[in-house]
Symmetry: C2
Subunit: 441 residues, 2 copies
């Protein structure tokens, strides 16, 4: 009987296992997961920290038991894989304190990502990442009054919102000159920064030097801050130590894969945050460690292992986050990124409303569109708004992925009913501004 | 000096005039508008009837004065064009009770649509269409207690919501076997029908025979209803009597135009609800009398008159409406329509939620996708949901317009953050169900 081993029971791993199972009902499938949770995603931790829910099991879409019973997938939780021997085609775990070897025909590497760490160590230095640690971290944070957050990226501002909502005094220390500076261009990022600064204390252009007193004294290049605890949110990196030296690693530091999610080793696949992908716009390696990409990579790996050929088209880099009333989204390249790739761009920003002038409750929405100058193809978009951001972002992801021109985007037949839009949709207006150079309604 | 005359100051006409003005700063431009309002759209009338706003001027995006002062467009309101002489290239109006002739080099026909009428006449038989009549109609309705609505299409259910919210006893009489039966397939339409029936009295499969007592006695093929007033909402038709016999009329009954919005008469353009267009999927004539299409047609006509060539790509038929908490949208073909065009379809319906399981306030959302069986290209979509419907609908309009396959739609890199989505977006799941035949998350 064919044997499939999956290392890591997150979004990508469980999706890969599930699709392999569907296509090969008799395959022997084992998933090894280091924690007690599978089918989990860390995206919920800020909301758990805020206290919006209290049942940790909700982090899991499906439980280990579900996979065992319904999908005949043997899930071994609390089981860390300590060795992977790609040449000998086996992996090693500890079982009852003894090493145990498992052989495979197919392997999926879906160990995910892990937080980047700083040099300092301490009990009150907290990394927010795995749902399995969420309760412990929440307890630490709830018992603290003054909390520093290092890093003004997505996780940083989500944690700032959560902790401020819990009544904590938050100080957010950020190296960049505006928040979300890897996600947004400065024009859009400044709008978010102003909003965050109106709610919590933000230090911009300030770099961490070290953290002392076990997490209670922050020393930066500009000052010192005494706090009760520190959340470090300076980004993530692929969690691939277990296969380093045995497999091709891509430019981004994640495992190289082809468009079938095959690694450089036969019948060994990688999917999710452990795997690299190719940016559809630049055709260059890219790494987008978010759950929707992970799930789709898992789908591709699982289908191909199951014998049904499926090709992963690559990534555009869709990201969405929330701070208070603001939903903030980005897809494709920012102008900053485009510049790094030597792509000449034109852009347009339009500020509009989400409902007809006369319909109560209309909210602000701001859209930035970026086109490649010669072709006028849309290569990126950024949105800040208080409602109806998600669908527009998904629309623009489709537009970027398929290479619509500004003119084609302008002519998309958008919907209009006064309670949920203006006659001229904000995206249509932004496309028109790019296409004609003329703003206004 | 070149002379442009525009007949009808609605969305299409004012947009055409504005773009012609931009490109030809010295052109002599006159807009003749039969009512006192320009740049108006009837879509707000149900909300005005509900009492959500009281300032009639809010129906206008811009006032006649704005166009005169800012755009040097001579707007003649309350001026009905009584004759159009396409051969002699002039139009005739009444000015101070005398006929007056105006010559043109370019003409835009943007007279819009008008409600279809029934045979019966009476003071309490009301047609809801032009914002200029909104106050009079609202007064009639507010002074009535029991109101019949004839027609369970978009306007019918919007008026039902508005009048019920005003505390009226509403009876909605509909010929079809479910509501919105021209917009939705039966599977989706029934969901809306159930919702409407839980709020107001609905009579299905019931045809109007006549209305007596000036609008106070409804006689159908199944019964008689005594009411205080009747709203007739059985659809609209192009308002083109003034040019009939002088110009090519299309299959749909609207003015035939090419993809530059040129009619069969040189330098005479038509745009908006008066004009026909071509369906992008079927390549057949189609007529989509909604404001976003009208605006874009006006843009195309105005640019071409101004000397800048712009091509209108055709329509897919995007429609969106609201009943209470439900936002209801459709783009592309329904399965019913596809069948009429001899297109074989496959479809998938997915019911999902708008937020993560653990995030408070998640709402239901249901998406139906329709693909052409052989190519698996998405040719239609229907959505019912309580939030984030609009953007998803616009996304699907883009998808239909550009001919994405189900597989391509599945691989669109959608955004995910727990407060506004699930990891697997409902559209992604519906695409996956079409593409793989497998439902579930």
């Amino acid at each position: 009987m064919e044997k499939l081993i999956v290392i890591g029971g997150g979004a990508a791993g469980m999706t890969a296992a599930s699709w392999a199972r569907r296509l090969k009902p008799n395959m022997d499938i084992i998933v090894f997961e280091a924690t007690r949770m599978v089918s989990h995603a860390p995206c919920g931790i800020p909301y758990y920290t805020e206290g919006l829910f209290n049942d940790e099991n909700l982090f899991m879409t499906y439980t280990p038991e579900y996979f065992k019973e319904k999908r005949k997938i043997d899930v071994k939780i609390n089981t860390r894989v300590v060795e992977v021997n790609l040449k000998d085609r086996n992996i090693v775990i500890f079982e009852n304190l003894e090493k145990k070897k498992y052989e495979f025909d197919y392997l999926v590497l879906s160990m995910g990502a892990r937080p980047k760490r700083i040099d300092s160590e301490g009990e009150k230095i907290l990394y927010v990442h795995h749902p399995a640690d969420a309760t412990q971290i929440r307890n630490e944070l709830w018992s603290s009054s003054r909390i520093a957050i290092i890093g003004g990226g997505i996780l940083g501002i989500e944690m700032a919102e959560a902790l401020q909502a819990r009544g904590k005094k938050v100080i957010l220390i950020h190296r960049g000159k505006y928040l979300l500076n890897r996600m947004l261009d400065e024009d859009m990022g400044k709008i978010v920064t102003e909003k965050v600064m109106s709610e919590v204390e933000v230090k911009l252009n300030e770099s961490l030097v070290e953290i002392k007193n076990g997490g209670k004294l922050i020393i930066t290049d500009k000052g010192k801050y005494e706090v009760d605890a520190t959340v470090v949110a300076i980004g993530v990196e692929p969690n691939i130590d277990v296969v380093k030296g045995q497999i091709k690693i891509g430019e981004t530091g994640a495992i190289w894969v082809d468009d079938h999610m095959r690694t450089s080793v036969p019948n060994v696949y990688a999917a999710g945050d452990a795997a690299e992908s190719v940016n559809i716009i630049t055709k260059k390696p890219d790494w987008i460690p978010f759950a929707p990409v992970a799930n789709k990579m898992g789908f591709v790996a699982g289908n191909n292992i199951g014998g049904k050929e499926v090709v992963f088209p690559g990534v555009v880099g869709t990201v969405i986050t929330k701070f208070k009333e603001y939903i903030i989204g980005k897809t494709g390249l920012t102008e900053n990124e485009a510049r790094r790739y030597g792509i000449k761009t034109v852009s347009a920003i339009v500020r509009h409303k989400t409902r007809a002038r006369y319909y109560p409750g209309g909210k602000d929405i701001i859209v930035k569109l970026i086109a490649e100058e010669n072709s006028m193809r849309i290569i990126g978009a950024q949105i800040i708004g208080e409602e109806e951001v998600l669908g527009r972002l998904n629309m623009l992801a489709a537009v970027v992925q398929k290479g619509f021109t500004a003119e084609e985007l302008f002519f998309v037949e958008t919907g209009y009913v006064p309670p949920v839009n203006r006659v001229w949709d904000v995206v249509t207006l932004a496309a028109r501004k790019l296409y004609t150079g003329v703003g206004g309604e």
